[in-house]
Amino acid sequence: MADGKNDKLKELAQKQMAALDKLCEDHKNRHYLIRLYTCDAIGCHSGGSSDVIRSLTEVINSHGAMEKIRMVPTGCMGLCGKGPLVRIEADGVKPAMYKLVGDMLARIIAAEHVIPLLKWIEGGRKGEFTTSQFLKDNELCLDLPFFTRQHKIVLRDMGHADPENLGEYLANEGYDALKKALFKMKPKDVVEEIKRSGLRGRGGGGFPTGLKWEFAAKAPLVEGEKFIICNADEGDPGAYMDSCIMGGGPHQVIEGMMLAAYAIGATTGWIYIRAEYPLAIQRLETALRQCKKHGILGRNIFGSGWDFMIEVRYGAGAFVCGEETALMASIEGKRGSPHMRPPYPTQKGMWGRPSCINNVETLAAIPIIMRQGADWYNKIGDEKSRGTKVFALTGHAKHGGLVEVPMGMTLREVVEEIGGGTDTGNPVKAVQTGGPSGGVIPASQFDAPITYESLNEMGSMMGSGGLIIMDSTDSMVNIAKFYLDFTVDESCGKCSPCRIGGYQMLKTLEKISKGKGEIADLQKLKDLAFAMKKASLCGLGQTAPNPVVSTLKHFEDEYTTLIKK
């Protein structure tokens, strides 16, 4: 009887594999003369990309040309400050990108660029297609350093693929790494490969991913279970990398998670995603449905005999739940209050089971590393900080958006070249990295490379990837107050150094910014920062004073000016 059951499973797996192959082949075999990409990531989506797609479709349909043109809603194209973005590509033709596309412009693009271009191609022409001056004025130059200086690994597919199209993901070598691991590698080989790649946690801490996996792999199952948890509760109030990666490449994250699960021997995966990201949730759940339908998740995956399922749980608006122990408490249905470590989650995590928690960007890098190899990956970046990092370049950036750069690139390159300086024309005063746990870095230190270590040395941190450009008019006391206000509100309230210390610090800052401060208040701030850093229970409290400490360090004069007023 057991054999009969096995045969059935085998048969099912074969059927599913065949269906997947067909999905992939179908995608590869469909040829279009033009590919029309519309950014449908959160920024452009909120800016009206759905209307843009509708308008483009209507006009193209009215010319009966839909068969020859592929309309692709895509993940983030990067230059969010200029969205909604539309990109037109055709083989052998120089691509073009439009910025700030509204309903009207979309119709003009379709009628005066896409349709004529189609006829032009059908006429056998190649090279540079010329459009009207009006359209030219609405185009974005694709030679901008913003586009040319990036190195896209994690964001590889964003802007070029439909996140809801499994066939396309498969056609782009999707799930190949997983198949390779399942059939050709032992779990410990996968751990070894990631160790060798030098990948470090992209959620902020920078802990070596391979090492974490090694700990998790060693932990024996508890009551038959071990978990891999994807931390998608992006809480940094000025960063949206994970939202875009989830929304733009959900299969990439799922594949990364499955590779992690295989490597450490996890039995179930959990994705803890921020509830404030409905679009990312929708894309993720679509992708998970596809996986379940096609046997990528479930029993006997690809006929390998390996079973794995993923559950999705929403956050509910608590920054502290980015902290591992708090995140697990939240899924368990409790307040998101961190507890002291040890025990570490990899030993004793959710419901007492060993649990390995990785951030979205970390997991999204895994399939690519596994496909291209650790040796390829660890040649990118800096000696101790390998690979690339995705940043949300915002604030007063001239060219703001989602960027991916190799580690080791200098802040100047990112701020001045990729970001193009400020949108106000005022000089850049500083950047802020690491969100509420990070600090400000003055323009004078912009030649420092972006690595975990050097950012720490400058009193900031890598963090999850917020990079906020501030110009000469921005008040540093205000920015410190903004962040502290955030962490004070987000303190879980459990431990007194964070709960009361942060509040007292905020009150002192408010006093100073109202012009009622005294010089002695600066010492008070430093004393409180010391106590919070040393005595807070978790990372949130320990790093909460950083924005104050770093602004005090680099811009103490702004404080004293306010006090002397």
Binding site: A318, C492, S496, A531, S536, L537
Partner: protein, 584 residues
Amino acid sequence: MTMVTAKIDGVEVKVSEGTSILAACKSIQVNVPTLCWHPDLCATGACGICLVKVKGKAAMIRACCVPLEQGMEVTTRDPELVKARRTVVELILSKHPNECLTCSRNGSCELQSLAADFGIEHNPYPQVRFEYERDESTKAVVLDQAKCVMCGRCVDVCQNMQNVWALCFMKRSIHTQMSPPGGIKLEESPCIKCGQCSAHCPVGAIVEYDQTQEVLGQLVDPDLYCVVQIAPAVRVAIGEAFGNAPGNIDTGKLYAALRRLGFKGVFDTNFGADVTIMEEATEFVQRFRDGQGKLPLITSCCPAWVDFMEKYYPDMIGHFSTCKSPHAIVGTLAKTYWAQKNGIDPAKIRMVSIMPCTAKKYEIRRHEKDMYASGYQDVDISLTTRELARMIKQAGIAFNELPDETPDALLGEYTGAGTIFGRTGGVMEAALRTAHFMLTGENPGSADIKQTQGTKGIRSFELDVKGTKIRIGIAHGTGNVEALLKEVEQAAQKGEEPPYHFIEVMACMGGCAGGGGQPRGVTSSIRIDRGKGLNKDDKQSKTRFSHENEAVKKLYDEFLEHPCSQKAHELLHTSYSAKQTYKR
């Protein structure tokens, strides 16, 4: 057991694996200061005071909740540690009213002594004040959130130790507070008034509902005749308020002190306990031998437990002994039997009971008819041990120098069986001594039934009464009840023989000795010492069997006829009804 060796302040220590750094420090006479930590509870590291440094770690570590690891090098004192700990204390003080002089914890407050130890003469941080409403709704336990330091002890006690879930953490950040859920009053919550929260609170945020002024007023009212009774567990704990060791038997001095305070009749609840045993043992025999009523019989002298059962296990009501608790019995008898015998108008009698318990304040009003069986409110005011200690101190009575006195006749004489009511297993032991007599016509070979003693949360055993096996279950701490009752429920569902014939439950760990109204600073070892005091009192008693209490015999002869008579039922028994867990 695996041992770990490490160095603390350069001193080598060897402790078993899993021992916290805090405990390891204690083993070498280093007391790292703490606030939220309590030996009864799970260490959470909430206050952030027990900071130590561990070589190789950047942040300071909380000694209470991190285990000592092999080869660790721990530093417990250096200027940075003192500075950080001190700042944390200052911060806590900045969110505390600091109204020490007008706080009932003045002199016994853990935060106050911490502030004194750190010599904080001036707090650099301005006072943070939010408006909180004082919650006196239960008239038993009072919540004063303004004073709360968010140590979390009460919440742990209420949820985990007691499984009551009346208290929880609400909100977050500086606005985090301990309170009943959803902004309701404590009275509207499942609170069982056990007062364990107040017994564990390090500051004055949860205290007993103070009625000492009311009692003082009655004592000087010429129209009233004030009488008093003391519960078993009070005598072995009140001495702690006067510098005596836990478990010291201060019965004689207590009687004297109460007379000095102006009480005209001084009785002993232990007498009532002996009466309870007569009634309850009879009830047990009726159910066990005669098949009249449900088995197991479950004790009902703990009012917090009664409240818990009425809220969470109303299906078990039929199992409850209908016999009132000892202090309610003494209350009823004082206003009937004693009043008649002495020719005193019961309307003028004011009965005060001194209890180790906050729930007794609730019990005296819990049933609109049964608690007024004498025609008047049977017990007018119930004071906790802590309140009485304060009254004695306010009156300037030198407690330890008092002569030993004896109680007043009729309601004062007690046996060893009555006194052990004050510890877990004691009611059971006393009841079994008399049940043995009732079942067999003779006393057991030894008064001691050792299996009833001990500190394990749940204890069960089989007692052989001349070939008849009685299955016994004992639980203390309402958190331990669930497992026991589940067994009973499951057996009933399956139609099996009940797993127990007789169950004793006390809501507080250690029984009344560890009651919510006892002197502060309770720990497991203090509860044990108080229990030992009661056992000693039992052993040195003239008789150790309730049915041999001459005053009790007289009571039945002259007034009640026999145990469980109709009159006894009218005066000494009560009834129960299902109660809503939430009154909203």
